[in-house]
Amino acid sequence: MKLEIRGLTKRFGSFTANDGIDLTIEPGEIHCLLGENGAGKSTLMNMLYGLLDPTEGEIVVDGVPVSFSSPGDAIEAGIGMVHQHFMLVPVFTVAENVMLGREQTRGLGVLNRRKASHLVRELSERFHLAVDPDAMVEDLPVGVQQRVEIIKALSNDAKVLILDEPTAVLTPQEIDELMEIMRELKAQGTSIIFITHKLREVRAVGDRISVIRRGKVVGTAAPTASEAELAEMMVGREVSLRVTKEAASVGKPVLEVRDVTVIDPRGHQVVKNVSFEARAGEVLGIAGVQGNGQTELIKSLLGLVRPDAGQILLEGRDISRHGPRQSLEDGIGYIPEDRSHDGYVGGFSVRENLILDLYRHEEFSRGGALRLDEIRANAEARIAEFDIRTESASTPVSALSGGNQQKVVVAREFSRPLKVLIASQPTRGVDVGSIEFIHKRIVSERDKGTAVIIVSTELDEVYALSDRIAVMYDGRIVATVDPDLPREDIGLLMAGATTDEESTAR
């Protein structure tokens, strides 16, 4: 099936998300769509999949113009999609998820679960995608959930398969497996649109590369193009992710974590016997694939989750039974991984969010009454200092761009004296300019003598910032290594392999 996109444009109000995009996907090719977060890749794919109506332009399948008013039409036309955020019902089984929308029945609308399981088994054998059809999706690891998504698309006889940022949640080994699967699919005649912002992957698997920037196709390239070339096309100027920083002047341990174990409400141990220490003036990076216990570990450090066993010592005092309020008072700064969920109150103004955890201090309230003048002055100062782009200090934070929302959180956490800074995914969904800014501030906080803990699933970020790297896998810290270790080895550690380096630098 040949898929052509001609002059596709999408506007939201005055904002143009996609501007006259032309693309051709030949039968049986892996076409990579490369672009930064927010470049408009997802918008384009959502139009292709019938989730959004294009403002202008057309989609042509095998020479015939089509219009998709719903995903059903797109599926009918042979387009399948694996979404970045999986479109799976967590409380359904694999087979139920796969058959949803085109259910196997015994007639009269009565489900035939056996037949559905059989179909899943058949597809999983044919494409070498191991899954148990009767498993509950919420119990499966993300890598397997992704396989379910692929099977779901294949069960609809997809001729063109869109993979939207499929590697974000995978270990390097799982990524390799996924690439194998992609080659297998290609061999069996399926075209693939592979969306990513990771250069390495594009070059490894792509047949052709189209680069999107600010809603426009800015060029195409062959997989032989160098990473530097591709990167420049993608962001429009030469960038380096390297953060310039002095060698760390490491002080004494500030935060010591001893044998911490956390059990989630379903009774699984998500953090297992974790021990490490964070030292003054040093950045400790915690690397690992999403969902290996980092989230819970960090939450236990702040007191959002109480560890079921073990101790957390701040300057020698046990704080493992403290709640978040005490931890904040003690001088722990926290940048949560999901800022809209935990970092700010969307409906609150920038001004209010800048004092979200400071309002009880003498500076901003007295006798239970807020000191509005001081709050206002604080907001003006932070907005200027952190270059927060907002219409005014009374604009709700939900109306800001992702980078500026994150700057609000960062500005707030940096506006009080810290002993420990914990930053979880500090630059997720943030534009390049803000990334640089936030990284610089983190390094300067380190240079002030704060113990910094960075949790990131982006290996590049961990490398750029860290003075030491702890790798988490399956709830444990499997190794603590220096950042000069080759990334392949860290990738292995992230996938659960143990190496000789485990004993080093503890």
């Binding site: 005490q326 809209s340 969307g346 609150f348 309230s365 009454a369 939900s398 761009s401």
Partner: protein, 431 residues
């Protein structure tokens, strides 16, 4: 009570999706899909600022909201007019000869509608006495409405006003007719007892929510029934019954426990306005209000910022209960009603609609309380003119329904304004 206990995280991006509890405005953009753009967001920023109290003091931003409310009232009145017409005997009679004298149908309909609505207005604000009655009727609605509104801002749905009023009335009444105190002290003691009673009843619900996560919609409904049982029990005791009577009815409170009058209305009216001012101060100017609104808008972020969610829930319900208790004073201490099973009427339920119409803001609640108070008083006059007073209940429900659906009102009124509409509401069952 960690985040973990809420089951798996939703995989959908939360930010900016239309059902985002954080976003008060309807957001057509999914920043995850497009990101990085500021122009479109600025438009929404100014739109969203419109609903935010404490924003720039530009009254024009409230205009769309006011227009929608006015439109909602108008549409409700039109529907009410149809109901009046089709239920009027004269009009129905005229239908039987509609083909020969069609005009008769219209004049009779017009007469019926006019007489009903004019009676409604005359009865509520047509005379000094009517206005006094309206104010006195509005006072409990305003207080109870503030109770619902305050809880709302903390993300709690207080359907328990009815029960809190009942317990408040019980406590105030008991102190009012059994204790023997000097007049000034007595009324204060009785009032405090009522407020405290309501506060305790509401506080229990808050505590249950805070400690166990029991959903407040269910527990407040149950506490309404339990309050009725408590009242029934009390009224079966001699201490509460009129001497020499077995009826479940008490004596009215002693004169020394009656609310004093100023400007021809009892002081409960003044208290209601003062309560509105106090609630405004708490919500907008105090640290407690800051916590309350933060928790109501995003409990997770508030917790991460070191706020205690259990404390906020408990305090919010305690305050809400106290306001409901205050509302109960109008009847027992104001009008001098004796305790009986119908002592609080349906004030607790009406308060929900009052708070909704007032968009959970103190000023809005006061205005809505006055409107509904007037409608309730005018309903009596309307009934005398031949239209059942229950029509006002229908009108009130319709007004709130339409106010909650600004798109519908705009469509019907062909108002071409954008923005302004969405109400500040806690989402779904989310606890």
């Amino acid at each position: 009570m960690s985040d973990l206990e809420k089951g798996p995280e939703p995989r959908e991006p939360r930010r900016g999706t239309p059902h985002d509890p954080d976003a008060e405005h309807v957001d057509v953009l999914d920043p995850d899909a497009v990101g990085g753009e500021d122009a479109a967001k600025q438009v929404q920023a100014s739109m969203a600022a419109a609903d935010r109290p404490g924003g720039p003091l530009d009254l024009s931003v409230y205009l769309p909201t006011a227009k929608v409310t006015a439109g909602a009232i108008l549409i409700a009145l039109v529907i009410g007019a149809v109901l009046i017409a089709i239920s009027d005997d004269g009009v129905i009679e005229s239908l039987s000869y509609f083909t020969s004298y069609p005009w008769d149908f219209f004049t009779r309909s017009g007469d019926a509608i006019w007489s009903a609505y004019s009676a409604l207005v005359r009865g509520s604000v047509g005379s000094g006495a009517a206005i006094s009655t309206t104010l006195e009727r509005s006072a409990p609605l305003i207080c109870a409405g503030l109770s619902v509104a305050l809880a709302f801002r903390a993300g709690l749905f207080n359907i328990g006003g009815q029960g809190q009023l009942t317990i408040g009335a019980l406590c105030a009444g008991y102190v009012g007719f059994t204790w023997d105190l000097p007049s000034g002290v007595h009324v204060v003691a009785a009032a405090l007892a009522g407020i405290l009673g309501g506060a305790v009843w509401g506080g229990i619900v808050g505590l249950l929510k805070a400690r166990t996560g029991a959903h407040e919609v269910i527990t407040t409904i149950m506490f309404n029934y339990i309050a009725v049982a408590v009242l029934t029990y009390a009224l079966s005791k001699d201490a509460f019954q009129r001497p020499g009577s077995d009826n479940p009815q008490s004596l009215p409170v002693a004169d020394s426990a009656r609310l004093p009058e100023i400007f021809g209305v009892h002081i409960g009216v003044l208290l209601a306005f003062l309560a509105a001012g106090l609630v405004w101060w708490i919500l907008e100017r105090s640290t407690l209000g800051f916590e309350l609104r933060a928790v109501g808008a995003n409990a997770d972020a508030s917790r991460t910022a070191g706020m205690s969610i259990p404390k906020v829930y408990t305090l919010a319900m305690l305050l809400a209960g106290a306001l409901a208790g205050l509302a109960s004073l109008s009847g027992v201490l104001g009008r001098g009603d004796s305790l009986s099973l119908s002592v609080v009427g349906s004030t607790g339920f009406d308060a929900i609609t009052v708070a909704l119409l007032g968009r959970a803001t103190p000023l809005g609640t006061v205005l809505a309380g006055l409107l509904f108070g007037a409608m309730s008083v005018g309903g009596g006059a309307m009934e005398a003119a031949g239209t059942p007073r229950e029509l006002t209940d229908v009108l009130q429900a319709l007004i709130v329904l339409f106010v909650a659906a600004p798109a519908l009102v705009k469509g019907l009124m062909r108002v071409k304004e954008s923005g302004g509409g969405a109400t500040v509401m806690a989402k779904g069952w989310g606890s």
